[in-house]
Structures are given as C-alpha cells and as structure tokens.
Subunit: 126 residues, 2 copies
Amino acid sequence: MLVPILKQEHCLIASIQGELSDAELLLLRDQLVAQVRQHRSRGVVIDVTVLDIMDSFAARTLRSIAQMTKLLGAQTVIAGIQPEVAMSMVQLGLTLDHAMIAMDLEDGLALLRTRGARENDVGHQP
Amino acid sequence: MLVPILKQEHCLIASIQGELSDAELLLLRDQLVAQVRQHRSRGVVIDVTVLDIMDSFAARTLRSIAQMTKLLGAQTVIAGIQPEVAMSMVQLGLTLDHAMIAMDLEDGLALLRTRGARENDVGHQP
C-alpha cells in the first residue's frame, strides 16, 4: 500500500492508510527524503493514526526518516499514535528519537507552523 | 584541494569545492578555528553541497569544528547535505552534534543572522 505524500506550503504530509510492509516503509523513507530536498520543505508530518501496531522495524524506519530529514533541514512530526500502540512501544523499548510527536495531523501541522514562526523570529535550533 | 574561506560580516563561509582528503579536512579545521578567533566571528557556514559522500572521519571533523568554534563563541552551520549523504550518514550512525543544519548556504546565513538578532535582544547563549 503506497503512502500518499501531500505538499502543503513548506510541509509534507504522509498519511499512512493501512499496515505497511518493510519494503513499503523503506519506500516511504526514500520518497520523503527525496521530496524534502525537492520542495525545500521545512517539516514533515507522518500521520500514523490508522496503525494499530508498530514493530521495531517501523519504529526504526520512522526514526531514520526523522534523522535524515533533519540533516536536510526539515523537522519530522509523528502524529496520531494510538494509545495501545504507545503502550506496546514503551513495553518493547521502541523510541522515536529525533521526531516530534503530535496528537493528530492538525496538531502536527500547528506544531510545525509555530516552530517555523519561532525560527523566523529567533533562529533555528539544531 | 584547499577550501576557500570567505568573511562576510560576522560570519565565515567555507565552501567545499570537491572531495577532501583527511589532511585537507584537518587543515580546514585549523584554518577555521584560527580565523574565527582572528575575525571574532559569530558564525561559520560550511557548505558541503558538492560532497556526495561523507565518511566517519569527515563527520567527526565537522563535529570537532562545531565544538571548537562554539568554545570560541561562534555557531557552526553545515549547509547543503545531499539526500543520499543524509541517508548514508544515518545508516552509518554518523551525527553532526553541536552543528546546526541548513538546506543551503543562503539558508545557513539566514539562520545565523536571525540567531545573531536574537542574541542581541536577549543576551548570548553559551
């Protein structure tokens, strides 16, 4: 299942529509990295609302995406983690370092907007 | 291949023109540290756009430069990391701690300018 990637102003939105295979996760990573560069995006929101499971490969791939986009100058936000997913992630010791977390897509975009506004005012944080 | 270092107001710009040997990287480090001191620079932008590979020595040297210049009061920005370089850096576990990241040279200088403006408003950050 391919993940549609939408461009909205300076952000990219990847809205996951169903469970993804490992290969599909890697494809999502490669596409996001390429599009961040192409569109000079400032932020990426990955909406994981529909996922009711997050295995170690998925968590690792999301972490990689966050790290890679950061090296390109864009902040990644993971939005919509379900409570059961959050619980199992903690129990399995899975983390999402380098990414910011938001309740849902709307919250994620707001986060990037306020972050962008702050950076325009007072400079980027590393 | 020597790296030209340009002075622009309170910033130094090191524009890498091609692959650098380990010795050339160390020379760049030494020159930047000396010039930050000499010109009392507030920021350094290292433009790595032309690099299509970043090995562990290069990443470590860039990290050192960022740490050293920070101790002299100047923020280092690494600008123009290519998507493939970002991907391989994450896969190899290479990081650029202490440096800020910008999309390109222009973005890097803007980052330092807004950062400088903030510091003038609210006092320097350590």
